[in-house]
């Protein structure tokens, strides 16, 4: 398949179309770069491969003393929570001291609701959801339109209090949640399920009729509802795009084992990470959010040996959960936050294991690890310690930087340096943080 390795995008595109038996389908340019043996983009120059972004979420929050390295600069000592990242020292940059000021705006909701909306979007909780688009969506709006999926939302643990702001991390806009796909089998089917040309043509005709229906209905509505219908329309167009561009001829992904325990979160997390890595490698999307545990989450941790209470219970002293200010409670929290980092490290490792161009997928990816509260027990919403990973945008790695900016200031740096999103502003940001990227 040497043809695929050339920079002439039209060639594989023609081949691709021929295989569809003459059905003309508008393929996004990226699809032209897929090949059959799974080494997507092999031989292409690094600079030509688009970068990707992952916003990774850890519910409830962390314990600062087990998380924040004592030293800044490159010689910092890995803390107990960050220990799983030791093999990836040269792939990460720890940024601490970040503020989440919108969490303190007076308004409805508890601390979890407020911090979550503020952390994701720099805006105030509306009483129902986020007050604006989350950072992954702000980026996707600028860079996502060339791909089969503008963005992907993945989730793992489902245990939560059930409210919208607690169950979703990605927001298309004011009160517009984008629910994560929690089941690896369904995600696999979306990404790699086989489709034939007749099916695509049929689907397209149906969706055309549906879009015309929506346009007709718009006339009967007020302005607010027209906006909502527009969002519905845009979702239909997203479906159409995902259908119109056939899944790539990308053969290295096996469907996840449908028989396994669907509540075994470490297992599900790894399956989701594998699929995400392959989705990136096959050029299906450039933006993803990954919700490992829920906001104010209630995950149980049998694999860590903690079954007496749930994630949120452990962050406070709650019944038999010993709680932050008891020594054994801190140990529990340390193990829980380390597990979150462990799964994050797994994804980093996975991205690093896939060859791409003259490097690996990790070279062209930027991952941002965020957690709900800077300190879980007292719902601290300033002094966040976040992790940036991957080499997109020339991340300065093996570093710990203490900053005084806001989380949104860091978002701007990632959006612009790593993703080239050209984002001039984002709520709660005053200026792009410097010194994180080369």
């Amino acid at each position: 398949m040497s043809a695929v390795h050339t920079k002439d995008r039209s060639l594989p595109r023609r081949m691709f179309l021929r295989n569809l038996g003459g059905v003309t389908i508008g393929l996004p340019p990226l699809a032209a770069m897929f090949n059959a043996n799974g080494t997507a983009f092999a031989g292409t120059l690094k600079a030509e491969i688009p970068t990707r972004f992952v916003l990774w979420f850890n519910g409830n929050g962390v314990v600062e003393k087990y998380w924040i390295p004592a030293e800044t600069g490159s010689d910092f000592t890995m803390t107990p929570c960050l220990a799983p990242l030791a093999p990836f020292r040269n792939d990460i940059h720890i940024v601490t001291g970040l503020d989440n000021p919108a969490a303190r705006l007076p308004g409805p909701g508890n601390d979890h609701h407020r911090s979550m909306a503020a952390l994701m979007s720099g805006t105030q909780f509306t009483g129902r959801g986020s007050g604006g688009a989350s950072i992954d969506q702000a980026i996707a709006a600028r860079v996502g339109s060339e791909n089969r999926f503008r963005s992907l939302q993945l989730g793992v643990s489902q245990e939560s209090f059930g409210e919208s702001i607690q169950r979703n991390m990605s927001w298309a806009g004011y009160d517009r949640s984008l629910p994560p796909e929690m089941l690896p089998n369904k995600l696999f089917d979306r990404l790699f399920g086989a489709r034939d040309a007749g099916w695509i043509a049929r689907k397209k005709s149906v969706l055309d009729a549906v879009q015309e229906d929506a346009a007709g209905l718009k006339k009967a509505l007020g302005q607010e509802d027209r906006t909502r219908l527009d969002e519905h329309l845009s979702s239909i167009r997203d479906v159409e795009r995902a259908i119109a561009s056939l899944p790539p001829n990308y053969r290295r992904v096996d469907p996840p084992d449908a028989e396994g325990d669907m509540k075994d979160w470490p297992r599900i997390a790894k399956l989701q990470s594998d699929l995400l890595a392959h989705a990136f490698a096959s050029g299906q999307t450039r933006v993803a959010s990954y919700m490992l545990t829920k906001c104010q989450g209630l995950a149980r941790f049998p694999w860590l040996g903690y079954t007496a209470a749930r994630h949120h219970d452990y962050t406070h002293r709650d019944g038999k959960a010993p709680g932050y200010d008891a020594p054994d409670g801190q140990r529990v929290m340390r193990d829980i936050c380390r597990w979150h980092v462990e799964e994050f490290a797994y994804l980093i490792g996975k991205l690093k294991s896939i060859k791409e161009g003259d490097g690996t997928v990790l070279d062209r990816t930027s991952l941002l690890f965020v957690h709900e509260h800077a300190e879980a027990n007292d719902h601290k919403n300033n002094g966040y310690s976040l992790i940036v990973a991957g080499h997109a945008g020339g991340l300065r790695t093996n570093m710990h930087t203490r900053s005084t900016g806001t989380v949104s200031d860091l978002y701007l740096a990632v959006a612009n340096k790593a993703m080239g999103a050209g984002l001039a502003k984002f709520p709660s940001a005053s200026k792009e943080i410097q010194g994180i990227f080369a």
């Binding site: 969490a103 129902r128 984008l178 229906d213 007020g222 509802d225 909502r228």
Partner: protein, 640 residues
């Protein structure tokens, strides 16, 4: 350039002129200066015309968007809180500064600049108003703004069941719905994400395929050929069912194209993804759809499903244009078993059955707590509501019933004789101190921690779910951990929670919550009765295995701050109070309103809620009457 500079100067000059001297306030001083101070103190957290805990006091900040003039009128209306003889003695000043007892605590620091602003306004009111002045803000008419509502997953399942005869409940595969405003059907949060749109596409394809597997076995197509004529007939007839209104001409043409490509299955696949199927409008701009919108409002309110043939007929015949017509159809639909499922869903969401499913209980202390027992707990709650609603019993017995519908394991947990049949009725003797939902393990367990009760969570549940009152959330950054129990100083929850009540910033809200929860203290984390609080201390490492048990007396005296004569000492006594409490009775109406309308009530809905409440009360609190009345007043909002 010169012109620009001149314009700039002029603008600055005008701005300066517009800035009045703050020491001599005008009527707009309230909106500009006072309102921000009240906002900063979060007065509206409790004093709001919606569900705030202080909604019953003389000071209520209106909700919703008010015009400039309306805010000015509201500011002037505060003259009733001013002491004209001695303005320094005005409660407008002395409540928020807590010089006078204030359940909400000290919200404004005495002597601060904020108080000075309030003082300025007090003086303005003294000199610019008369005691007899009335500054009422006109009540808003129930708004008839167009509303777009998406079928909930339940409604989707029921609708395809009634439309296609498909009862595979395929929407259970869709992304689960989240809670907002206490329910899963609130339209402000019903976005159609790409993931959901994909699920709709996949669902439609599957449903269409299985509807015509082995031919048209369900008789959906009225004719048996593939001609456009047959297609047109099918599209017209089936389309009216699917879109719940007659199709427009261009819509018919659109689907005729699909018919030509793939016959009836393709038409069905398309219609099931159409916004005309997935969404329904209320008060839409198309006048000819109005009767059909009403038909859908009735059918989704009572059945969570599409209108049936009779309802379509009534819509076409114009019978739904009057309250009487709507009421007649409502009563007919109530008699169908489908109405029962709707009440079940309302109950499960209102009482948050899901939180019990997510609960964990410490195995050592509560070995009897199994998933089966948790299910029995929610079933008991469902059974009680079912009985009250469908046997036409006074619905307020939800709180005061001295009987229960329990399984044998639940009877054992409650220490009452087992029922004759599973979930049969048993009496709750007075000494159980249980009554209605307040004594149910469902509520007692869901509002408790893994091994200990939480008077705070129980108090909050009563405030929010049964009194429809919002209690402000704790300020950010508060360490909410209560003091630990130690062998040296074992404490009851009341003693541990005393911290809340002695700390000013905690007390302002916790005095509203915790004292309600204290009345439940004789019921443990799974809803079992206990006479004393048992605390087990595990020994230090060297003397491993040894435990020490301490038994503490429980003081269960509680009260509902703000409600007169509300002292109680058990769930049973609380039940009697709540059953007769107007706010609690009205809260039933509000909860059903939120579920019916898919949104929170707004100031403009006051008349609808009041009229429905009047009907509810007049009927002897029969829930079926409330269902009928509330829908009637929702479709035809009263003038006052």
């Amino acid at each position: 350039m010169v012109v620009r500079i001149a314009i700039l100067f002029l603008a600055i000059l005008l701005l300066l002129l517009a800035q009045k001297d703050p020491r001599s306030p005008g009527p707009d001083y309230f909106a500009k200066q006072v309102l921000p101070v009240l906002h900063k103190a979060n007065c509206e957290g409790c004093h709001n015309s919606g569900g705030g805990v202080a909604a019953g006091t003389r000071f209520k900040i209106p909700e919703g968007e008010l015009s400039k003039e309306e805010w000015a009128r509201f500011g002037l209306s505060l003259h009733t809180l001013v002491n004209r003889a001695d303005p320094t003695q005005s409660i407008l000043l002395n409540k928020p500064t807590k010089r006078l007892a204030h359940a909400g605590g000290q919200r404004i620091v005495p002597g601060s600049a904020d108080e000075a602003v309030l003082r300025t306004w007090t003086d303005y009111l003294v000199s610019n108003t008369k005691p007899t002045d009335k500054f009422e803000i006109a009540e808003r008419r129930g708004d008839r703004k167009p509303v777009l509502r998406r079928l909930t997953n339940t409604q989707y399942n029921n609708t395809v069941r009634d439309l296609l005869g498909d009862d595979t409940r395929i929407a259970e595969q869709f992304p689960p719905e989240d809670f907002v405003n206490g329910f899963r059907n609130q339209f402000q949060s019903q976005s159609v994400s790409p993931l959901l749109a994909e699920a709709y596409a996949t669902g439609a394809e599957k449903l269409a395929k299985s509807a015509f597997r082995g031919g048209d076995t369900r008789g959906l197509v009225p004719c048996k050929d593939t001609t456009p004529k047959c297609g047109a007939r099918f599209i017209k007839e089936f389309g009216k069912q699917a879109f719940r209104r007659p199709l427009l001409e261009n819509e018919q043409g659109r689907y005729l194209k699909l018919w030509a490509m793939g016959g009836a299955p393709m038409v069905v696949e398309g219609m099931l993804q159409s916004p005309n199927f997935l969404l329904r409008t209320e008060n839409g701009a198309e006048p000819s759809w109005q009767p059909y919108e009403s038909a859908s409002r009735i059918s989704y309110a009572f059945w969570n499903s599409m209108p049936d043939t009779e309802l379509f007929r009534a819509a076409a015949a114009g019978e739904l244009a009057t309250p009487e017509g709507v009421e007649k159809q409502s009563r007919r639909m109530l008699r169908d078993p489908r109405a029962r499922h709707t009440v079940d869903e309302f109950t499960a969401e209102w009482l948050r059955f899901d939180s019990l499913a997510a609960a964990v209980k410490e195995r050592g202390s509560f070995p009897m707590y199994t998933p089966e027992l948790a299910l029995a707990m929610t079933e008991e709650a469902r059974k009680l509501v079912e009985y009250l609603v469908w046997e036409n019993v006074n619905f307020m017995e939800l709180y005061s019933a001295d009987y229960a519908f329990v399984s044998t394991p639940l009877a054992k947990l409650y220490n009452v004789p087992p029922p004759a049949e599973e979930f049969g009725r048993v009496a709750l003797p007075a000494e159980t101190e249980r009554s209605g939902v307040l004594g149910q393990a469902m509520l007692l367990a869901a509002t408790a921690k893994p091994s200990e009760t939480s008077p705070t969570a129980r108090g909050l549940f009563v405030r929010e779910h049964f009194l429809c009152q919002e209690v402000p959330q704790p300020p950010p950054g508060v360490n909410a951990n209560l003091p630990l129990n130690s062998r040296e100083k074992p404490m009851t929850n009341r003693e541990r929670l005393a911290m809340h009540l002695s700390n000013e910033s905690c007390a302002s809200c916790h005095t509203l919550i915790d004292p309600i929860g204290f009345g439940f203290e004789k019921f443990d984390a799974v809803g079992q009765r206990r006479e004393k609080l048992k605390i087990v201390f595990t020994a230090e490492r060297k003397e491993k295995g040894k435990t020490e048990t301490v038994l503490l007396d429980l003081d269960t005296s509680g009260s509902i701050a703000g409600a007169p004569n509300s002292a109680f000492r058990s769930p049973r006594e609380l039940g009697t109070i709540l059953a007769g409490n107007t706010q609690c009775q009205q809260c039933v109406v509000k909860q059903l309103f939120r579920y019916y309308q898919g949104r929170m009530e707004k100031p403009g809905d006051a008349a609808t809620i009041r009229r429905s409440y009047d009907d509810f009360k007049k009927s002897g609190f029969h829930f079926q009457e409330l269902m009928v009345s509330l829908l009637r007043w929702s479709i035809f909002p009263p003038e006052s």
